[in-house]
C-alpha cells in the first residue's frame, strides 16, 4: 500500500483557481526569495518591509511605482497581443529602443516648437520604427517560418547598439561631460508631468491602450481572428483567416506600441536619449503579460505590482545596500514560479492510495 500520484487533464478551469495559482506562485517565489535574502545576511522581513514602504508607503513611492508601471503596461500590452496569436515577440525591448531612437531623430531633424505637433511627430515616428522592427520578424515568421523568438531577441541587440552608436557618436551632447546621451530636448519635445511628481502623460495612454486592447480582443473581428489563430491555426485557415497578413499586422502593432512606450519613457522622464535608458522593461513586460494571463485590464494591475517591485528594489539597493541583481533574481523567481504553476491549471494532481492488483489479474 502506498500513495500514488495521478495527474489528469482538466476539462474546465474554475475561476478561483485561475486567481489562486498565480497568487500562490508569487507567494512561493517571495518565500524562496526570502531564503536568498537571508543568505545575503539580510532579514527577509525587514527587507520586504523596506520594499513595501519604499514603493507604496508614501505618495513619492506610489508615484514612482506608477512611473515604472507605464512602460511595463504598454510593453506588456505589446507582447500580450502577439502572445494571444501564439507568436512569441521577445523583442519589445528592441522595439522600445527603436521607438525612442526614431522619436529622438524626429526631435533632432523635424523639430516644431509646438508640444502637440511635436508629440504627434514623435509618437508617429516611434510607432513606425518599433512597428517596422516587429513586422520584420513577423514577416520572416509568416513567409519562411523563421523562429520569431530568435529573430526578435537578436533584433533587440541591434536596436540597443544602434541607440548606443548615436549617443556615443554623432548625437552625443558635447556638454555632457562624456556621458553617452544626447542634448536635453526642448520643452516642446517633452511630455507634461503631473501632480508634482515624475508621473507623465504616458500613464494616460497606458490606460487608454489597455482599454482599447480589451475592446479589440473582446469585441472586434480582428481580435477574434488573432485569438483563433492562436488557439488553432488550422481552424483559422479553414475560417479563411490570412495568417501572413495577421502575423505581419500583429507584429507591427505589437512593435508600434512597444516603440511608443520607448518614446514616452524618453520624452516623459529623461527628456533626452541616453545609453541604456530602459532597464529591461521590454523583458519584464513578458513577465507582466504572463502574470496577467494576457488579459489587458489585469495587465495594468500586474504592471503596477511589478513596478512596485522595481521601486522596492531601488529602495533595497539604497537602504539595505543590496545589489540590483538580487532584485532581478527575485523577478526571475516569480516568472519561473508562475510559468511552472501553469501546470496546475492544465492538470489536476491527485494522490490516491494504490491498491494491489485484483487477484484476477495476478493469476
Amino acid at each position: 500500500m502506498g500513495l500514488r500520484v495521478v495527474t489528469e487533464k482538466r476539462v474546465r478551469v474554475p475561476v478561483w483557481l485561475e486567481v489562486l495559482v498565480p497568487v500562490g506562485a508569487v507567494m512561493g517565489a517571495l518565500i524562496a526569495g526570502a531564503v536568498l535574502l537571508a543568505l545575503l545576511g539580510v532579514s527577509p522581513l525587514a527587507a520586504y518591509a523596506a520594499m513595501l514602504r519604499g514603493s507604496l508607503g508614501d505618495w513619492y513611492g506610489i508615484s514612482e511605482t506608477l512611473v515604472k508601471a507605464v512602460p511595463l503596461t504598454l510593453a506588456g500590452l505589446a507582447v500580450a497581443l502577439s502572445f494571444r496569436m501564439q507568436v512569441w515577440n521577445i523583442g519589445a525591448e528592441g522595439q522600445l529602443y527603436m521607438g525612442a531612437l526614431a522619436a529622438a531623430a524626429a526631435v533632432r531633424f523635424a523639430f516644431v516648437d509646438n508640444s502637440l505637433v511635436m508629440f504627434c511627430l514623435m509618437a508617429g515616428a516611434a510607432a513606425l520604427a518599433g512597428g517596422t522592427w516587429g513586422a520584420f520578424a513577423g514577416y520572416l515568421k509568416a513567409r519562411w517560418n523563421v523562429n520569431e523568438i530568435i529573430t526578435t531577441l537578436m533584433l533587440n541587440y541591434i536596436a540597443i547598439h544602434a541607440v548606443d552608436y548615436f549617443v556615443y557618436g554623432p548625437w552625443k551632447d558635447p556638454a555632457s561631460l562624456g556621458f553617452p546621451m544626447t542634448a536635453s530636448f526642448p520643452a516642446a519635445a517633452r511630455l507634461p508631468q503631473f501632480f508634482d511628481s515624475r508621473v507623465h502623460l504616458g500613464i494616460f495612454f497606458a490606460v487608454v491602450f489597455a482599454v482599447l486592447f480589451h475592446i479589440v480582443f473582446r469585441w472586434t473581428k480582428w481580435g477574434f481572428e488573432v485569438r483563433v489563430i492562436g488557439a488553432n491555426p488550422k481552424a483559422a485557415q479553414y475560417a479563411g483567416i490570412n495568417f501572413l497578413r495577421n502575423a505581419v499586422l500583429v507584429m507591427f502593432v505589437s512593435g508600434a506600441v512597444a516603440g511608443f512606450s520607448g518614446m514616452c519613457e524618453m520624452a516623459g522622464l529623461q527628456g533626452r536619449l541616453q545609453h541604456g535608458f530602459s532597464p529591461g522593461y521590454g523583458y519584464t513586460a513578458i513577465i507582466v503579460a504572463w502574470l496577467a494571463r494576457l488579459n489587458p485590464l489585469a495587465l495594468m494591475g500586474v504592471a503596477f505590482l511589478l513596478g512596485a517591485l522595481l521601486v522596492g528594489g531601488d529602495t533595497l539597493q539604497v537602504v539595505m545596500r543590496l545589489p540590483l541583481s538580487s532584485i532581478q533574481v527575485l523577478q526571475g523567481l516569480i516568472l519561473f514560479a508562475v510559468l511552472g504553476a501553469e501546470y496546475f491549471l492544465t492538470y489536476r494532481v491527485r494522490f490516491i492510495r494504490s491498491v494491489p492488483d485484483s487477484p484476477k489479474e495476478v493469476d
Binding site: V11, R12, W219, T220, K221, W222, F224, R227, V228, A231, N232, K234, A235, Q237, Y238, A239, G240, N242, E361
Partner: protein
C-alpha cells in the same frame, strides 16, 4: 504444418470492449513459425484492437494469449517485446533527430553508459544484409524516405530479436517498388522461421504475400482460410459483408444542374507527392455524390482543393462554371460551398473556444454577426447559437464553456449546425460519421439527405461502403489519386466489385470478372461518357511522370 510444434502465438477467445461496444468478440487467432498470417477487414473491424492486445497496449476483457505454448499475460508493451513480439506501427515511432543506430537502441534495458557504436552498427549491418533491409545506420532518421523509415522500424523489431512481427498496414505508405522489396523482406523473415502478422485491406497484396488469411468484420472473426484456393472476390465479399446496417435511402428524384466541377485536378500532398493525379468530376444539385476509397488515396487533398484550403498544381475547380483558380477558402464559402472536415477538433473547430465562438467561426465577418466594419455582435451570435443548439439537438452544459468538453457526436452536430444552417449550395463532407455512435451516425446521414432534397450538391467521402451505397446517387472510386470509375447506379454494383476497385483493380478487370462468373451485366451503362472519367487524360500522365522524376529513391 506438424501438429507438435506449438504456434508462436495463440490468442484464444480475445474479447475487448470499449464503452460497451465489443471491438473484439471472442476472437481466436494464431501465428505459426514460418508463416505470414494476414488480418483482413475494414476500418473499425477490430484488427488494430486485436494487435494492440497482442503487443500489450490493451488488456483484454476476456481470453488468453499463449506464446510458444506458454500462457502469458502482458501488462505493458515491454512485456510483449520481451516475449518476442515486434510491432511495426503505421506511424513508425522513431525519433527523427536521431540516427538510425541511436533509434535502434533507444529504450533498450541495461544500456552501457557509453554506447558501443561500432558493435551496434555492425549488428545493424548484419541484420540488414540478411533481410535485404538496406539502410545507412549512421544517417539521421529525418533524412530518410518513408520507405526507409519503415525499414528502420522493421530492423528495430529484428534487433530486439522479435520472433513475431506485426506489420500494421505497411504498404499504405509505400510506392510499388518499395512494396516489392518489403515483400522480399517478409519472405526472408518467413524463411528464417519468424511468424508475421500482415494487416491490410489491399486484396492483391494480401494474396501475394499471405499463407493464411483471417477476416474480421465488426469485431467478429468470419473465418480463417488458406491463401491458396481463395479468390479476391470471395475475400471482398467476406470483408465487406452483406448485412446493410442502414436501409438504403430513396434515391434523388431529379438531378439538378452541375454546381461544382473539378477539371483535370492535380494536387500535391503534405510530403510534396502528387496525391491527386488528374481528377475530373461534376457535382450536381439535388444529388449525393459518393467517393469510395481506402484512406490516404488522395481524398483529403482532393476535398481540400475543392474548398480552397489547398492549392492545386494544375487543373481547376469550377463553382457554377466559374474558374476558382486557387481562390481562398472564404471565396468558396461565399459561393455557398460548405466543408465538413474529417478532423473535427484539429480543423473544423477550436476546442479551447466556446460554442458561440465556434458557431460564428466561418461567418463572423458577415451580417448579422458583423456590426459595422470592425465589430462582432456577440449578442446576435449568442441568439443564433441558442437557436442552432436547439434545432440540431446539441447537448451542452452551457454556451460559454470551451467545446473540448463536448462528446464527439455533439461536436459533429455543432459543426453540421454551423455548416448547414446557411443552406449551402454544395456540401463537401469527409467521413462525417467517423467515430460516431449509431444514433449520431443516423442523425448525420438524415441531415445530409435532407440537404440533398433541399437542393444541395453533396459530396460524401467515406471509407464505409455501406454508408456510401445507402446514400449515394452517384458513386466514384478513388485509388492512388485517380478515379477508377464513376457509376450512376451505385446500388447495382456489388460491394465486392467496389472492394476490388478500391483495391486498385481496373474497372475492365472487374467487368470481365463479372462476365466470367456469369453475373448479370450491369443495368444501364456503367461507363457513361458524360459522367465517367477513367482518369487517363494528358494532365494525369504528366503528373505521374513528374512524380516519377522526383526525389524518391527507388531501390530494389
Amino acid at each position: 504444418m506438424a501438429a507438435e510444434i506449438p504456434p508462436l502465438v495463440f490468442m484464444r477467445g480475445i474479447t475487448k470492449r470499449f464503452l460497451g461496444v465489443k471491438a473484439n468478440d471472442a476472437i481466436d487467432f494464431d501465428v505459426r513459425p514460418g508463416e505470414v498470417h494476414t488480418l483482413l477487414g475494414e476500418n473499425g473491424a477490430g484488427k488494430s484492437t486485436l494487435m494492440n492486445v497482442l503487443c500489450g497496449l490493451y488488456k483484454p476483457d476476456g481470453g488468453e494469449i499463449e506464446i510458444e505454448g506458454e500462457l502469458r499475460r502482458f501488462r505493458t508493451p515491454r512485456d510483449a517485446i520481451a516475449a518476442g513480439i515486434g510491432m511495426v506501427h503505421q506511424h513508425f515511432m522513431l525519433v527523427p533527430a536521431q540516427t538510425v543506430w541511436e533509434n535502434m537502441v533507444l529504450g533498450l534495458d541495461a544500456l552501457p553508459q557509453v554506447l558501443p557504436r561500432k558493435d551496434i552498427v555492425r549488428r545493424i549491418e548484419e541484420i540488414s544484409e540478411r533481410y535485404a533491409l538496406r539502410v545507412d545506420p549512421l544517417a539521421p532518421v529525418w533524412q530518410l524516405s518513408i520507405g526507409e523509415q519503415q525499414r528502420v522500424a522493421i530492423l528495430k523489431a529484428l534487433y530486439r530479436q522479435a520472433r513475431i512481427l506485426v506489420l500494421d498496414e505497411p504498404t499504405a505508405v509505400l510506392i510499388p517498388q518499395e512494396i516489392q522489396s518489403l515483400f522480399a523482406t517478409i519472405r526472408q523473415m518467413r524463411g528464417e522461421g519468424h511468424g508475421i502478422v500482415f494487416i491490410s485491406h489491399k486484396l492483391d497484396e494480401v494474396l501475394a504475400v499471405s499463407d493464411r488469411i483471417s477476416i474480421l468484420r465488426k469485431g467478429k472473426k468470419i473465418g480463417t482460410f488458406a491463401a491458396v484456393g481463395v479468390t479476391k472476390e470471395k475475400l471482398a465479399e467476406m470483408m465487406v459483408g452483406r448485412q446493410v446496417f442502414f436501409n438504403g435511402a430513396p434515391p434523388t428524384t431529379e438531378r439538378g444542374p452541375v454546381f461544382l466541377a473539378v477539371r483535370d485536378l492535380v494536387v500535391r500532398g503534405e510530403r510534396g507527392n502528387i496525391a491527386v493525379q488528374g481528377v475530373s468530376l461534376e457535382l450536381r444539385q439535388k444529388e449525393i455524390f459518393g467517393l469510395a476509397g481506402v484512406a490516404g488515396n488522395g481524398q483529403l487533398e482532393l476535398c481540400e482543393a475543392m474548398v480552397g484550403l489547398r492549392g492545386s498544381e494544375s487543373g481547376d475547380v469550377l463553382v457554377q462554371g466559374r474558374e476558382m483558380g486557387n481562390a481562398s477558402p472564404r471565396a468558396f464559402l461565399d459561393r455557398g460551398v460548405a466543408y465538413i472536415p474529417e478532423d473535427r477538433k484539429g480543423t473544423g473547430l477550436v476546442p479551447s473556444m466556446n460554442i458561440r465562438e465556434n458557431v460564428v467561426l466561418r461567418k463572423y465577418w458577415k451580417k448579422p454577426f458583423a456590426r459595422g466594419r470592425w465589430f462582432i455582435d456577440w449578442e446576435v451570435a449568442a441568439g443564433h447559437t441558442g437557436r442552432l443548439v436547439e434545432r440540431f439537438g446539441v447537448i451542452t452544459p452551457g454556451l460559454g464553456i470551451p467545446i473540448r468538453a463536448l462528446s464527439g457526436g455533439n461536436l459533429q452536430k455543432l459543426m453540421l449546425a454551423r455548416e448547414l444552417s446557411d443552406n449551402p449550395k454544395a456540401i463537401i463532407a469527409v467521413q462525417p460519421t467517423w467515430g460516431l455512435d449509431v444514433g449520431a451516425t443516423e442523425y448525420v446521414r438524415e441531415r445530409l439527405l435532407e440537404q440533398r432534397d433541399r437542393g444541395a450538391a453533396v459530396f460524401l467521402v467515406s471509407e464505409d461502403l455501406e454508408e456510401l451505397l445507402a446514400l449515394s446517387d452517384r458513386l466514384a472510386v478513388i485509388h492512388q489519386g485517380r478515379i477508377m470509375g464513376i457509376t450512376k447506379n451505385p446500388r447495382a454494383l456489388s460491394e465486392e466489385d467496389l472492394g476490388l476497385l478500391m483495391a486498385g483493380t481496373s474497372l475492365e478487370d472487374v467487368l470481365r470478372g463479372r462476365e466470367e462468373r456469369g453475373d448479370a451485366p450491369l443495368p444501364g451503362p456503367l461507363r457513361d461518357p458524360g459522367t465517367f472519367f477513367a482518369g487517363d487524360g494528358a494532365a494525369q500522365k504528366k503528373a505521374f511522370r513528374a512524380e516519377g522524376g522526383e526525389g524518391r529513391t527507388p531501390w530494389a
